[in-house]
Assembly symmetry: C2
Homo-oligomer: 110 residues x 2
DNA sequence: TCCGTTGGTTACTAAAAGGTTCCTATATAA
DNA sequence: TTATATAGGAACCTTTTAGTAACCAACGGA
């Protein structure tokens, strides 16, 4: 999903390389609330398909921003959570949330 | 480029709807430095093609986050700048820049 | 008269992303 | 005995996005 080449010089580009994808940002939004099971993520993110959720989770795991923990149970239970690195992305999501709130307000009663 | 349906309830999703695209974020990065001509944007954003730049500029203009000013000269001169709304996105780009700096540092001498 | 410059547009093609459907394993409950 | 629940994987297809190349208009200068 992400190419593992050298980092771009521009820090914005570096960041964008990791979370430019819409779904990843929504996954982050969910995981910032705490550890979640696969099914919880699936139902918490409107419109995401199982395939796309899996793909993005794998990619984010590879990038070291989330952690996956599978319990050897039946039926299977798999929990996802942010890594320490993933937690550091919080300010970005928060700024998006803040902006979105202001924008919604502007649109709705502007 | 963006569908003009109702806003999502989630503010993060609202924001993501406007700037989920990698190129738009890089365009914002450029325009946060100030007004730029089409050609300057083109050369300032590594790897962007003329078509994609034009498309995204149109879309962002429709969304009201940038402004386009064409001067009736030959050869043509077209300047792009952030609208007031566009300026309010600055904290998002800044947080990405901050994060990217930290990440680069971590990778390079971690 | 023809060239170069700028900021596009259009048509065609390739690649990436996403959607859908079907399949699996197995403990447990009914 | 059989249905159920969970977290995927595989195959196939459609849609979206991006890249490439060609073309254009208009004026000023050589």
């Amino acid at each position: 999903m992400e190419k593992k080449k050298e980092l771009p010089l521009c820090p914005v580009e570096t960041t964008v390389g990791l979370i430019s994808n819409k779904w990843k940002i929504l996954i982050l939004r969910e995981l910032l609330k705490g550890t979640k099971r696969f099914g919880e993520l699936r139902s918490g993110i409107d419109g995401i398909s199982q395939k796309v959720l899996t793909q993005n989770l794998r990619s984010m795991e590879e990038d070291g921003i989330i952690q996956r923990h599978a319990y050897p149970e039946v039926p299977p239970r798999v929990e996802y959570s942010l890594s320490d690195l993933g937690e550091t992305l919080k300010p970005i999501i928060s700024s998006m949330e803040q902006w979105g709130l202001g924008y919604q307000e502007m649109i709705n009663n502007g």
